[in-house]
Symmetry: C2
Subunit: 317 residues, 2 copies
């Protein structure tokens, strides 16, 4: 049994196709086929059900592949041990960030990240939460930054900041000008939300809809906050912005902002990584860096964390 064989098997399990798996492993299909056969022969089991199309997994096969992943994951940590010892924060690092966090967080720490760790080649991936989680679990990402809690047993979450939601109310809204608002004030408004698949939307729905029926005339799902603000400016409804987004508005727009009364509804933004702790030394560096950089900008204590998972209760911090 070799580590290479295990990688081949994982590739077949993932792509359900020997030819494609072979390509991904940079070998020819016969090579991969032979090694899979050898692995199956040595273990005296069949891992893949070749009679099905696409290729299926036997019951043992599924468990075997799980174990394969463990072994490969542990073997990949070997390089981490070396890097950690050298104190070298280097190599390739794949960081996924959800779209509603990316534009505000990246400017805060990208500069310092690249200048502090010149040996580190970071690739950024902007994807919705569920895709990030998927990639994280399949070794396609080393770390993600997303709204939490995600409630996933395979993952570890390390909160870095709590970011309150701020309501953006057009002038003619009945609550406009109020010093502090509470979620209940907004129940019967038309909501302008990001389109589905963005966890930010789930959070807002948990905030406004969870225990109350939606009472507005319509809701619109857009892809960016810019659109939502423009629509709100035209009096088509209200929207919500995460706090960091409000810092980049012009002075006119800022007049529309209405912050919530304590405990402010907020989202918890966390670093999320796999339990296998691959590249943990780099993750820790990024964590320290982010904690340092966000500490100044975000000091909210009395907040209610609105879950990005549908229909979950708020957690007070």
């Amino acid at each position: 049994m070799t580590i290479v064989q295990l990688k081949y098997a994982i590739a077949v399990a993932e792509h359900r196709n020997f030819t494609i798996a072979a390509e991904k492993c940079f070998v020819t299909q016969p090579t991969l086929s032979m090694q899979i056969q050898k692995l199956e022969g040595e273990l005296e089991i069949t891992i893949f059900d070749r009679s099905k199309k696409p290729i299926g997994m036997t019951e043992v096969g599924t468990k075997i592949i799980q174990q394969c992943k463990k072994i490969v994951s542990e073997s990949e940590k070997m390089q981490d041990v070396v890097d950690k010892d050298r104190g070298v924060i280097g190599g390739n690092f794949k960081l996924g960030i959800v779209p509603t966090i990316m534009p505000t967080l990246l400017p805060i720490f990208l500069d310092e990240l690249v200048s502090k760790y010149p040996m580190l080649k970071v690739s950024f991936f902007e994807l919705p939460t569920f895709e990030l989680i998927d990639k994280l679990k399949n070794n396609g990402l080393d770390l993600i930054i997303a709204s939490t809690p995600l409630e996933d047993d395979e993952l570890i979450e390390k909160p870095i900041y709590y970011e309150p939601f701020v309501a953006y109310l057009p002038e003619k809204n009945k609550n406009f000008g109020k010093k502090e608002i509470i979620p209940k004030d907004l129940y019967s408004n038309d909501l302008l939300l990001l389109r589905d698949g963005h966890c930010f939307r789930n959070s807002i729905e948990n905030l406004c809809f969870d225990c109350h029926e939606y009472k507005g005339k319509f809701e619109l799902k857009s892809g960016s906050f810019e659109t939502l603000i423009n629509l709100a400016d035209q009096g088509l409804g209200i929207t919500f912005l995460p706090y960091l987004h409000t810092l980049r508005l012009n002075s006119n727009q800022k007049k529309m902002l209405h912050s919530f009364k304590n405990p402010k509804p907020a989202r918890e933004v966390s670093l999320v990584y796999h339990k296998n702790e691959n590249k943990i030394h780099i993750i820790n560096e990024i964590k320290d860096l982010l904690n340092k950089l966000t500490k100044r900008k975000l000091q909210f204590n009395d907040v209610n964390i609105i879950s990005p998972i549908k229909n979950r209760e708020a957690i007070r911090v």
Copy 2:
């Protein structure tokens, strides 16, 4: 990097000698040397300090070997996955038992173990606790049965029974004939104990000496309970027996037994295995078997567990 290379490295780390390590791996010394060099080359570090005699480890080397052990351990679990799926309780299984438990426990379950699992080849090792732990950590054993708690982070303990200590008092002892005794009664007696290295002795010392100075005239450390009983019979002091041992005494000897008042001082006897959970399916079978077989013989609830680790407090169950 191959699993074979990792096994070679682990062998060198263990034996601190390339030649011996090669023998243990059933290859020639140059083979092993070359593979170690390749591994070091690929990782771009040196694992072993060849300038020292015996061979030393570099700082990274130590961490690398830890990671090697993890990978190899996970890779060995592959076969477990297969065996578990087949429902086959088979293959080689190495079970270590401390000397004070071996002679009483083995007769209880050996028969049923071998007849229930004919495919399983169990090797038994009778060794003092510290050696068992050492072997368990180095994959030299799959499971041990010992007095617990051991307080070792790498190990998992599953208690199977609580075995009270019974005092063996010669006729002329001042407490002879008492219906129930308490530890304090025995503080000023001459103690006949097993020689050092046996955890049973530590337990007794925790029971009688922990907070009190030893007041007897002498103590003798023997290798077996038989000797101790004979010496006690001759009036040379008192001794203690674990409950299961008392069942095999003749009727005359049984008259000397004095059990403790509740909560009885007792030892906790547990299955102890490594956190890596190798061969866990077999371990679980043995656990179930032992629980079933000892349930009838040992039903003591109100006991104080006397630790086999020196100078630890009792734990009431």
